[in-house]
């Protein structure tokens, strides 16, 4: 392999590595947002939970995971819409609570398991 191509390949690997690291960072930040704002209702449905997981269990009847963290089909648009508009007893979250950066991180976290 010509030296130029080797350099380009290494550069490419480097860019991919940086992107992966950035993804990991966003996912970790998103998990933190989830644990601050979401987990009190959207948890593994302990008896003291606010019942978001319970509600989704009643809605999906097992067709989809009731725990949002296990979903593989959530889109950033859907998550953003629900969080910004509210749904049933869940009120909307303001930008002073979940900022645009937080929302991006949360979406990275909730879509991390989606198929490529």
């Amino acid at each position: 392999m010509a030296p130029t191509r080797i350099v380009l390949c290494l550069l490419g690997l480097g860019v991919a590595g940086i992107a992966a690291a950035q993804d990991d960072e966003a996912i970790a930040a998103g998990e933190q947002v989830y644990n601050t704002w979401c987990v009190h209702c959207h948890d593994d449905d302990r008896p003291w939970s606010g019942g978001g997981t319970m509600a989704l269990q009643a809605k999906y009847q097992g067709e989809l995971p009731a725990d949002l963290r296990e979903r593989t089909d959530l889109s950033p648009e859907l998550v953003t819409t629900y969080l910004r508009e509210g749904l049933y007893r869940m009120p909307p979250f303001r930008l002073t609570e979940i900022s645009e950066d937080d929302m991006r991180a949360l979406n990275a976290y909730l879509t991390r398991n989606n198929p490529e």
Binding site: H40, C41, R46, P47, W48, S49, G50, G51, G52, M54, A55, L56, A58, K59, R84, E85, G86, Y88, R89, P91, P92, F93, R94, L95, T96, E97
Partner: protein, 553 residues
Amino acid sequence: MAIPPGVSESDFNQALQEFENIVGPEWVFTSPEAVALYRDTYSPFYDDEGERLTSAAVAPDTTEQVQAIMRVCNRYRIPIYPISTGKNLGYGSAAPAYSGSMVLDLKRMDRILEVDTRNHTVLVEPGVTFFQIIQHFRDNNLELDLDIPDPAWGSLIGHALDRGVAHTYTDFGRDRFSTGCGMEVVLANGDLVRTGTGALESSTMWQHYRYGVGPYVDGIFSQSNFGVVTKMGFWIRPRHRGFRTCYVHVPNYEDLEALIDVECELSNSGINNGMTFFGSDVMSPFAQDPEIRAQLPASGPLDLAAIDRLRRERDTGFWWAKLDFNAPLKVSAAQWEHCRDVYSAAIPGCWFEEEVALEFPLSEEEKSRLNTPGNPEMVHLGMPSLSRFRGGNRNPRNPDPDWGHLWFAPLIPKRAQDIFRAQEVFDRAYRERGIDAGVTYFARIPMFWHARVGVFLASLSVGRDREANRKAREDFLYLVQVAADEGWQEYRTPSFFQTEVMDMTAGFNDHALMRFFETLKDSVDPNGILSAGRYGIWPAHLREEKAPWHRRG
């Protein structure tokens, strides 16, 4: 972009520019998408005429920024409405009382400023939540606790200022405002005051002695009519050491009187120091026994003889009191023994049951049992959660959940005859209005968050059907008037009905109290920029239009 009422577009644009200079452009919200986040999704006016909407919002990070914002509001006569965390769901949420006001969003001011671990006080900013402060105690291994409400994502300061209530020890925040000690307040004109001993610049006891010298004024800053509270101190408590729950059962319908009277003696003497619940063994809305359920119509009088016969057959009581003790177990064992002695002497045939006795810290196994039948709720132990939402969310018994609720919450004297009267009055009112009361109104007992009165709490469902919401609004105002006619006032009320409620329930001497508030308003906030309409206190230029007691002349 919406413009606040009474403000010219050019003035508003100029003000927005000045707000941006104060807090930074990213913390001034004017886009329809950002402003819509301040809508009250629990409102019965949602998407209907009369919905209280926000024109824009500004989110400061410091007291100095709040002062500067107040000065700009005065310069351009911009109505502004402060919120702490905006989680006052069912009472108005983050939306203003006067539609078109800007919102002053204090969520960014979320610093825990001081914690006295030796003498048990804290000083916090408005954005600090119950989740946050308990986490702060645990993360820093501080042996401290705080009486908390559920949901716990609300603000300590907001909870206090709106007279919120909680669930554990009487003296540590069940009536939050009563535990406040020292405020920093930005007045409507931008001036800064500290109340209590905080008025002495070198004070080292701001959070330890609430009165200072001179008149005690903290009360007028509740509900944010005259100033924006930017810091507030609270008395908290050392860490919980033990918790015990015990039941007193009594056999007869008429025993409720002695059951409550004895509890008053025990509670007011500090022996029973937790929050007491009263209920019925046979009239519970959760009664599963089909024969008993058949005796519990949604409304109308009960066949007490038939219920008593069923009670005897099942060898159960008629009423119960659930006494909670927040104390080390050795102490609460003696407290409970004394309670048993007093009840045994007062009520022939009563009997006792001990449900749970816990020592802190709880084991993982004990934690796993919380919020399950026969075990305490986390909130009763001062552990934060959002478990109250569970009741309203979708579940197999509630496949079509609503979107919110409207709290009808009249205060009722803590006395059996008043409770029976309230059951009768509200049963009749519900029938007249065609409101579904559930199993039976006669199972309802007030909540005794406060030391000497009960709150006859009932929620009216809010959804996305405008006609149903309109009926809920009319039902609410009807019920408030029914209660007022009996001498019962709301303990707090949603922002969108505060004027009507003050009109119906604060009319003594030609609304003299409201006139006094208005005198204060004109003096402290002459331009009428702050919290217009909050609890019916309107600035002078809007009174004729908005306050019914002025229209009536």
